[in-house]
Amino acid sequence: MYTYSEFDSAFVAARNSQFRAQVERRIDGSLTEDEFKPLRLMNGLYLQLHAYMLRVAIPYGTLNSRQMRKLADIAERWDKGYGHFTTRQNIQYNWPNLADVPDMLDALAEVQMHAIQTSGNTIRNVTADHFAGAAADEVADPRPVAELIRQWSTDHPEFQFLPRKFKVGVTGSPNDRAVTAAHDIGLRIIERDGEIGYQVIVGGGLGRTPMIGKVLADFLPESDLLPYIEAVVSVWNLLGRRDNKFKSRIKITVHEHGIENIRARVAERFAIIKPSFAGIDQEMLAAIRADFAPPAFLTASDEPYNHARQHDPIFRSWADTNLSEHRAPGYAVVSISLKAHGKTPGDASARQMRLMAALAERYGHDELRISHEQNVILPHVHKSHIPSVFAALRAEGLGTANIGLISDIIACPGMDYCALATARSIPIAQEIATRFDELKLEHEIGEMKIKISGCINACGHHHVGHIGILGLDRAGVESYQITLGGDHRADARLGDRTGPGFSADDIVPAIERIVYAYLDLRTGPEETFLAAYQRVGLAPFKAALYQTEAQAYAAE
């Protein structure tokens, strides 16, 4: 894993001491809020509904156990004992005091972490496939290039005041687990005739005007990548609409100018920029790559695993949903669900963080990942250790067997925390998970992604949920709009709106009607919800959703 250079450490330390002075001056009154706000946002500090919120970047979602323990310590010492993992591989602390934030940042710096560029109109945390370096289906580990982009973009003088925030996501697998099509720039590592290159996707994004990204370059040689991205950001920096916040993202620039025009401008800019890179980026990449060398994998018998599978049905059920195929023989990727039924999606307590850190240290080559689906991954666990890992997880409420199932819901903080929200999302997620657990249906339903956002900003990715739920405010009452058929994978697709929204009391029954309609019309258990939706379309689901409503009203 990447470790800070002296430059990195000095930079973060200087930034923290600068911010400490700014906080002091804010508290003693020498800075007004108008002066202070941009400074705090530059350091990931928001003011939310009930408190400040500190957003900490977890670059490409990768952590070691020391870092995870530090996140736990911070949660306990300066927050309320837990943290919230987000879809952009950040952790958010919901309750810090302003005066404590400089200490929190110093604590983070001890383990080479920070909150810089987790807010503001800059290039945000670079996200990547959470199975990076482990997945059996991987062409190449996406993290070295994500790290290169992080180094290039952090404090890049040209890109500190972009028209709007800018998000980059990278995948190294054809099975895209990084939602690259919903990023300002999505990068897909591909192999062509034995050569590694990049497909560059541009102008994807969710939020108010959701769009699936378009292919800007089909196959970019590795040596062109960084100057090419610089050209893209630089073209948008000039063309991007600064006059209108709602039209400022690159997705609108691409839409307004057309992909051909953008491609031509990028090519022009690239030709100018490229010589200034002169291979330095490639040297850096090579050095970074060494930091991501795979661990020394063990060879051992997987007998304990096979034994547990055969004799312990609870273990088997968990293993079936929460393990994925690893590239190394005898290994598996373990997904730890932060979605225990009825709990807040993405929250982990300090105790849980410490346990996960301990397991990573003992059984996982000291690596952890945060997934954009708000779960935690132990990327490299030998099968012989998996029964012990599972037993430890279960004891701490982390043994839920629901990865990819209906209760593995993405939910943004919504109006329980977020100042921008128009409705709550967390309680809806909790109720849906509890309902389907009680019905004992979730394994029967199979693969199902429900994603919930508390407002049109779409932090909960609802547009790409198989079932998407968007919380709105209708005349002072929470209302929930449903979309169906969204897909976040390589052939990403935005969901279709079903019709009028549902009240907080009616949304869970509405979801239940959709699910029963699916169970009725699927050709068999092997036909997933998404496949069934693609086959039959919106109509039967719409009928199930609203006819029952109509009947209920008629009966009243």
Partner: protein
Amino acid sequence: MPREFTPKVITANALVQGDVVYFTAQDTWTRDLRHADVLTDEADADLRLLSAQARTGEVVGVYLADMKPGTDGPEPVHFREEFRRTGPSNHFHGKQADIASRT
């Protein structure tokens, strides 16, 4: 016809803790909505809002929030103010915990 002025309180977030506070009749900040000053006169509300906004060393984001009379002091009209008054749904944190620990 001018719209009728509905009752309001002045609310903000405390500068250091960031939590929700309300302006009292004594020009101090309280964390308990029951102790907030309910403003029923528009001109008065505008003036008080200005003076509250001037207290930049104590609070941020000062605004007027709609209230209706309740059995135990003002009650929020909109659900957003209800959550600000109580705290989040998913944890027993914030105002609800503070008030419970005091009573």
